[in-house]
């Protein structure tokens, strides 16, 4: 009560002490601006990022191609920019979808309690224990058009962005579910929730007005930390040829042929991986900074 500054100010003050997090935020904002400007760069250069030029494969950097060309003669800079848009969209989309699923499962388990809670948490623990990558590979490899129920045609979502987001979210929701469930269990014992209930508030009202605002901070941290993992998962699947399908570029599928390319043009094997590395580490630092800044237990250290 006696605190002179508001919670937002305290949050910013604490976040500012995490130097890596500050640097990461700046770097991510800059990257976002550059990636948003990709169509502008394309117009400026007057090159189509999907146009192949078999006579100029793996060309070294030049005025026309500042970073040179890839193994099909496409401009590397433009591929990196458009690939970044795809990789980042998958990272943000997958992490958000996972957070939504996790929040729903956690709320349901925490509020329903009893057998529902026991079943959902057993299920969550089961999913956490699974060897995830082989399962991701199977899910990425199956042919959904074989499922007559869904009525999907082969042509829908040919780049695979939507499918990868869904697959990654299928395994990414567990952290948030546990977090939300734990928070809901302890919040329900608190006076402000009990008094709201005593005053006749319905469960939906309590969820919206009392539970969600109080779990928003940990969910934000977990989601931020998940973005990096989703981007890594996308890059692995795309690298193996099961993720984002060419000609749509992603940082992962730009590395599909990297194993051969490191002998001929190491630049093509290094740059996309470097981008993945920097973005993932930036999101992890950002999440760490948010955690430090939002977790009041760490104040008196």
């Amino acid at each position: 009560m006696a605190s002179s500054a508001g919670p937002a100010h305290r949050f910013l003050a604490r976040f500012a002490t995490h130097r890596f997090a500050i640097a990461s935020t700046a770097a991510l904002l800059l990257l976002a601006a550059v990636l948003l400007a990709a169509p502008l760069v394309e117009n400026l250069m007057g090159i189509d990022p999907d146009r192949t030029d078999l006579l100029r494969r793996t060309a070294p950097p030049s005025l026309e191609h500042p970073l040179g060309t890839d193994d099909l003669g496409r401009d590397l800079l433009l591929r990196l920019l458009y690939g970044g848009r795809v990789s980042l969209s998958v990272g943000l989309g997958g992490a958000l979808l996972a957070a939504v699923i996790g929040t729903a499962v956690g709320l349901l388990a925490g509020i329903a309690g009893g057998r529902t809670d026991a079943f959902l948490m057993r299920f969550t623990d089961g999913v956490i224990a699974l060897p995830i990558l082989p399962l991701l590979i199977i899910l990425a490899a199956i042919d959904l058009s074989k499922l007559p129920l869904l009525g999907l045609s082969q042509g829908a979502d040919s780049s695979g962005v939507g499918r990868i987001i869904a697959i990654v979210a299928l395994f990414g929701w567990t952290t948030v579910a546990r977090l939300v469930r734990g928070a809901v269990l302890s919040l329900q014992e608190r006076e402000f929730v009990q008094s709201a209930r005593a005053l006749g508030a319905g469960p939906w009202h309590i969820v919206r007005r009392h539970l969600l605002p109080n779990v928003a901070a940990p969910i934000t941290v977990a989601t931020t930390l998940a973005i990096g993992n989703v981007i890594l998962a996308e890059s692995i699947l795309s690298f193996l040829g099961l993720g984002i399908q060419p000609p749509t570029p992603s940082w992962g599928n730009m590395l599909t042929n990297a194993q051969e390319l490191i002998w001929a043009a190491p630049r093509l094997a290094i740059l996309p991986g470097l981008m993945i590395f920097f973005v993932v580490i930036a999101f992890n630092f950002l999440g760490d900074g948010l955690q430090d800044a939002l977790d009041p237990r760490l104040v008196r250290r």
Partner: protein, 318 residues
């Protein structure tokens, strides 16, 4: 304790059963079924032949029927034939599992060996430049794409310096023990590095947690130096959660091993699973995935049991 283990084992069996059904169903959705593959081999097959073949192999039965037939055989130890290797699937598996366990075991031990001193030092000198440096390295280690790190190591040690083989498990025609070690260096280095980062973070926070405990204050009051108090008392107690959490990373470690095996063409379980899925070798993919899941679940159970055994304050017996 025994009741707890039995209950957990029942849970493991339940998850395995559920998984086997899900994976069986998913594999049926992969492009190209066994009959398709026969069709590509023989252009003179007619549609009557296809119907007859489907009946012979039971593919005209509904999914649940086929699954139960598979399960019945599996319970008797018959996991079917591998299409790619022309051997019973289970026989293909065994040597691969051994290779993977070597890769994972060595990397796990090395990662702990690096992470524990690094984590303790970071915890002792919190917020110093040393702590920040170790933290930066730890973040880099768990943020780097494992397959790309492997490629960089190949580029450096196999292409540029020509010191180590770029991939494989052993030289053609087999080799000495030293040769086998040479083939292990780069895969192990990659898996160790990507694993150590997480372990450093675990160790650091566990030691910080312990350093706040009263017995550390007591030890200091009795005249132990800060250094002695941490290494003799805090570290011992911090090791319990660290070892447990590390062992619980088995599934993650296995995923890492799969990537590393794919990059270095190392003949382990991960590469086997990947090749089986890509090569329409359903029987092999199924049994390999089940085995990987079973080993992971059992490793987690073992971690929990050892945790209880090491820390008498915890009681799952209730």
């Amino acid at each position: 304790m025994l009741a707890y283990i039995v209950r957990r084992l029942i849970g493991v069996v339940a998850i395995l059963l559920g998984m086997s059904f899900v994976i069986y169903g998913l594999i049926g959705l992969m492009p190209g079924d066994p009959i398709d593959l026969m069709l590509t081999a023989d252009p003179e097959v007619t549609s009557e032949d296809v119907a007859r073949l489907k009946a012979v192999y039971g593919l005209d039965q509904p999914l649940t029927q086929r699954y139960l037939a598979w399960l019945g055989n599996a319970l008797q130890g018959d996991f079917g034939f591998s299409r790619l290797y022309g051997q019973p699937a289970i026989e293909v598996l065994a040597p691969r599992l051994v290779n993977t366990l070597w890769l994972m075991g060595i990397s796990f031990a090395l990662a702990l060996l690096i992470a524990i001193p690094a984590g303790v030092v970071a915890a002792m000198y919190q917020q110093s430049w040393l702590d920040h440096g170790i933290n930066l390295l730890a973040f880099a280690a768990f943020s780097v794409p494992a397959f790309w790190l492997g490629l960089l190591l190949i580029l450096l040690f196999a292409v540029s310096l020509d010191l180590l083989p770029a991939g494989g498990t052993e030289p053609v025609g087999g080799g000495s023990l030293l040769d086998r070690v040479r083939y292990l260096v780069l895969p192990v280095a990659t898996l160790t590095l990507v694993t150590a980062g997480t372990f450093i973070r675990f160790t650091r926070s566990a030691v910080i947690e312990c350093m706040r405990e009263l017995y550390i204050r007591t030890a200091r009051a009795k005249g132990l130096s800060f250094f002695q108090a941490v290494w003799r008392h805090a570290l011992r107690n911090a090791m319990i959660p660290v070892a447990t959490v590390a062992a619980l990373q088995f599934g993650t470690l296995f995923s890492g091993a799969l990537i590393v095996e794919a990059i270095f063409a190392y003949l382990g379980m991960g590469k086997l699973i990947f090749d089986a899925i890509m090569g329409n070798d359903y029987n092999l993919a199924l049994v390999a995935l089940m085995l990987a899941t079973a080993v992971t679940l059992l490793a987690n159970l073992a971690a929990d049991v050892v945790y209880v055994w090491l820390d008498p304050r915890i009681d799952y017996g209730k």
